[in-house]
């Protein structure tokens, strides 16, 4: 007899292989676990940082000590294990930091192999897709490609640690502008111990000639990943940036506390896309990444534009609210999100749109997919401040549930302090209809493909925001999560 589409969905919910759970066997230099001022001095010294940066770190650390770890977890029955901040090693780099590779040939073949498995062969991918890849392996950037071509255009794209040396005045000018060191518990921790990340600077009037991309990966056991990304687009500049994240399988929970700051001046535009596929833990909720990330963009200039797009399928717990401060008049903030939770994953994600300038606009599209025992929460804030005349916001939050053990939740906060504001918020919840699957079956499409097709259709508005080559990858990622769904 024909298969029961419900069984198909349940099976899908239970079977999700983490395809990328491998460990690179490579010698790395790791600081012993623990955190105190000496560790921070150690990190700073290894990176030969200027004094001001060390001071900045130490100040953040001292502030962090006074802060309480947020108890956010919405679902107390989840197997939440508190993070032991003294058990984390705060610095891990492939050993030969002194003589870092000057070209791809010098990169450890095992590393390159890792990237192969991730589906990002540096040379090929970069060449074929026209993408410059700044690959962050644990804490230190090991290879940067296409830098020269970017240099020609005047674009700076380099590891954060390099920017500290090469462009100290820019780093000092913008670091912490959007996410102050004391912003929140995890941002303060990041500010104290961040090891590397990406720095992008697009000067006045320049359109970045290619998509910029960074792949982050947590490799060594028990190392937190605290990368820091700073993107500045000057007047009239524009840039599109993509990060992809994958981490191997581990039993213990690992912490990922990144900070991303975006600054767009007059008429500048920044598009920031994320495909997050950190290890989600297993079906019993053991292991997996705690993804506690602070991402914020400042639309500083008039007519500036910041757009966040994210496809979140990994991590055990995600707390992430990429936000926009719409300070410039007529500035635009956008947030497009797909979050998929399966097994015992929890995603609590959304955005904050703070309207300060006149005629500012924001647009939010959030698609949550819950399966297995997954819990998916949209949490967002739209705030229209009194001076934000004629502000506009449109928000759409849609949830799709698969199976009867998952949850979908929507917690928007809408604060209108100017009467000229027009704010619309809509949310809906649906399941995949058996009649929809049957209809597709009747046209010769298998139940598994039908589920995948419907999920992709559900996410279409968000996937359409991704740069073309990554949209394909995102679709594939959703599909991989859906594969083997039908017995």
């Amino acid at each position: 007899m024909p298969e029961d589409p419900n069984v198909a969905l349940d099976t899908w919910a239970e079977q999700t292989d983490y395809k990328w759970g491998f460990v690179t066997d490579i010698e790395s230099e790791t600081l012993p676990p623990g955190l105190d001022e000496d560790v921070i001095r150690g990190i700073s010294a290894r990176k030969r940082e200027p004094e001001w940066l060390l001071e900045w770190r130490l100040e953040a650390y001292r502030h962090w000590l006074t802060m309480d770890e947020p108890e956010w977890a919405h679902f107390p029955d989840h197997d939440w294990r508190p993070v032991d901040y003294q058990a984390i090693s705060y610095y891990s780099a492939p050993k030969s930091d002194e003589d870092r590779p000057k070209s791809l040939d010098e990169v450890d073949p095992k590393l390159l192999e890792t990237y192969e498995k991730l589906g990002i062969p540096l040379e090929e991918r970069a060449a074929l897709a026209g993408v410059a890849v700044d690959a962050v392996f644990d804490s230190v950037s090991v290879a940067t490609t296409y830098k020269d071509k970017l240099k020609e255009a005047g674009v700076i794209f380099c590891p954060f640690s390099e920017a500290v040396h090469e462009h100290p005045e820019l780093v000092q000018q913008y670091l912490g502008r959007v996410v102050p060191a004391n912003d929140n518990f995890f941002a303060a921790l990041n500010s104290a111990v961040f090891t590397d990340g990406s720095f992008v600077f697009v000067p006045k009037g320049v359109t970045c000639p290619m998509e910029l991309s960074t792949y982050f990966r947590i490799n060594a056991m028990s190392t937190g990943q605290f990368e820091r990304t700073l993107i500045v687009a000057e007047e009239g500049a524009s840039v599109s940036y993509l990060e992809g994240c994958t981490a191997p399988m581990r039993d213990e929970n690992q912490l990922h506390a990144a900070v991303v700051e975006l600054i767009a001046l007059d008429d500048a535009s920044i598009k920031y896309s994320t495909i997050q596929n950190w290890y989600p833990g297993d079906e019993n909720g053991v292991g997996g990444i705690y993804n506690f990330v602070t991402k914020r963009g400042l639309c500083e200039g008039d007519r500036s534009h910041i757009s966040w797009t994210q496809v979140e399928t990994g991590s055990a717990i995600t707390w992430k609210y990429p936000s926009c401060i719409l300070k410039g008049d007529e500035s635009i903030g956008e947030f497009y999100s797909v979050a998929l939770t399966n097994m015992k994953q929890q995603a609590d994600t959304g955005t904050k749109m703070v309207h300060l300038g006149r005629n500012t606009r924001s647009n939010i599209v959030s698609k949550g997919i819950s399966a297995g025992n997954g819990q998916n929460t949209y949490r967002g804030l739209v705030k229209i401040r009194p001076k934000a005349v004629n502000a506009r916001n449109y928000t759409q939050c849609d949830s799709m549930l698969m199976g009867d053990r998952c949850g979908a939740h929507t917690f928007p906060y809408i604060e209108a302090e100017n009467d000229s504001a027009v704010v619309e918020h809509e949310a809906s919840t649906s399941k995949i209809g058996e009649d929809q699957i049957f209809y597709l079956n009747q046209r010769g499409i298998s139940s598994e493909d039908a589920v995948s097709m419907i999920v992709n259709g559900f996410c279409r508005e968000v996937l359409a925001e991704l740069p073309m080559e990554f949209a394909v990858e995102a679709r594939k990622l959703l599909e991989v999560s859906l594969e083997d769904s039908v017995g």
Binding site: L401, T410, E415, A416, V423, E426, T429
Partner: protein, 438 residues
């Protein structure tokens, strides 16, 4: 009577000690006061009170309102014309037999003192008191519980239609010398297959600061149908911080509508729980913000079993420097398949100083459900106004017409005709040129 301030270690303790300790409620009341002291006044640090700041109230000297009487002329403007009702009057939270006119009731129906009911059948009444929401979670609910002296008890036995509505008038006699506090309590039990309508009208004698802290509970049996209205027309300095708890069995319907028209701060915390299948719940509200009024509807609807529908519809008209907040949560239990819930909050901002904070929320643990919520914030539709102007209607009148149309979406669903027309009149009286639309 003694007054209490923030600095007291145990606010209201003296008032409490003066209560009759032999009441069957004595233990419950003591527990409740302890709970109040444990929780302390709510602050904006808690999510439930995030946008409503009680500090200006709790900083004043508060005292339990003394026994008082009012002249019949005081309640006269609030009586519902052209309708037969069972009338109950409370003055400062205490039953006023002289002003009440219960009239004749169908056999078996009780409309009377909660205190009498407690004497007659304490266990049954006690089992309902505080059963419809978590009274221990909120300080004001605990405080009400601590000060139940008397209250209203409506009991409709199975398969009985209470044709005439019960009209409850809560009068607060304000005092320029002290901020009085009243804790009106209403318990409505409508058994299987029965029907009842209850209107609560809340108003005061003056514009002195006071706290009205009413709690109403509705327990609707299988197939029961209850219509409930709360009309808030308090004095201009009154803090009306009300709570409504509803539980429903299978197949029934409960409609509750809150009309926030006058008062300094008007909060209505509502919890509706559908414990059975195939039930329907409607929560609606209309709020009118002028001057520096603050409005807060805080709603939670729990879908616990399959095949229930709920509709939540709240509209705010905010003028001057008024502020408003709406929090509405639809909760769907894992078992509650085929839930159909729609929640809407619409806000009309008429003045640049008006503010609105809205939180429509969904919390869903069942997969085969249809749940939606929507919130909008905006000004009057200029195209619509232009259209009216082009038809020769003056600007003021056009505005009034559009505002009335906005409000009327809530009003027009009021099943009790006499109340509906009275509310239309109240609204039109407040609108410039409103008279021309009568």
């Amino acid at each position: 009577m003694s007054s209490t301030t923030m600095s007291d270690a145990r606010p209201f303790q003296d008032d409490f000690d003066a209560l009759d300790a032999s009441s069957p409620l004595a233990d419950l009341r003591r527990e409740a006061l302890d709970r109040f002291h444990e929780l302390g006044w709510p602050t904006t640090r808690s999510e439930a009170w995030r946008y409503t700041n009680l500090r200006p109230l709790t900083a004043s000297d508060l005292a339990l309102a003394p026994e008082a009487t009012v002249d019949a002329s005081v309640i006269e403007p609030y009586l519902i014309e052209d309708a037969q009702v069972h009338r109950i009057v409370f003055v400062n939270g205490r039953f006023d037999d002289g002003l009440s006119d219960i009239g004749s009731l169908p056999a078996g129906v009780t409309v009377g003192h909660l205190a009498d009911a407690l004497k007659g059948n304490a266990d049954a009444v006690m089992s309902h008191l505080g059963s419809t929401f978590d009274w221990k979670a909120d300080a004001l609910d605990a405080l009400n519980m601590a000060f139940i002296e008397d209250g209203l008890y409506i009991h409709v036995p199975a398969n009985t239609q209470l044709e005439q509505p019960v009209h409850v008038l809560h009068v607060t006699v304000t005092d320029p010398a002290a901020a009085v506090v009243t804790h009106p309590r209403t318990l409505i039990v409508v058994e299987d297959g029965s029907r009842a309508t209850c209107i609560e009208s809340c108003f005061g004698t003056g514009d002195d600061t006071c706290l009205v802290n009413p709690v109403t509970e509705i327990i609707a049996g299988h197939g029961a149908h209850v219509d409930h209205y709360r009309e808030v027309r308090e004095g201009q300095e009154t803090w009306h911080l009300g709570t409504l708890g509803v539980t429903q069995g299978n197949d029934g319907q409960v409609n509750s509508c809150c009309l926030a028209l006058d008062g300094k701060v008007i909060r209505n915390a509502m919890t509706g729980t559908m414990e059975g299948t195939d039930a329907m719940a409607n929560f609606r509200g209309l709020a009118w913000g002028t001057a520096d009024r603050h409005i807060d509807n805080f709603l939670r609807v729990n879908h616990m079993k399959p095949d229930c529908n709920s509709r939540e519809y709240f509209k705010y008209i905010l003028d001057d420097a008024s502020t408003a907040t709406f929090t509405g949560r639809i909760y769907v239990e894992q078992d509650a398949q085929k839930t159909d819930a729609v929640q809407t909050n619409r806000n009309l901002l008429l003045n640049e100083k008006a503010r609105v904070y809205t939180r429509p929320q969904l919390e869903i643990f069942a997969d085969d459900v249809k749940c939606t919520h929507g919130a909008t914030i905006g000004r009057l539709d200029e195209d619509a106004r232009f259209y009216l102007e082009a038809r020769g209607i003056g600007r003021e009148a056009a505005n009034s017409l559009l505002i009335f149309a906005f409000a009327n979406e809530v009003i027009e669903d009021i099943a009790f005709e006499a109340l509906r027309s009275r509310l239309e009149t109240i609204l039109l009286d407040r609108l410039p040129d409103g008279g021309m639309f009568r």
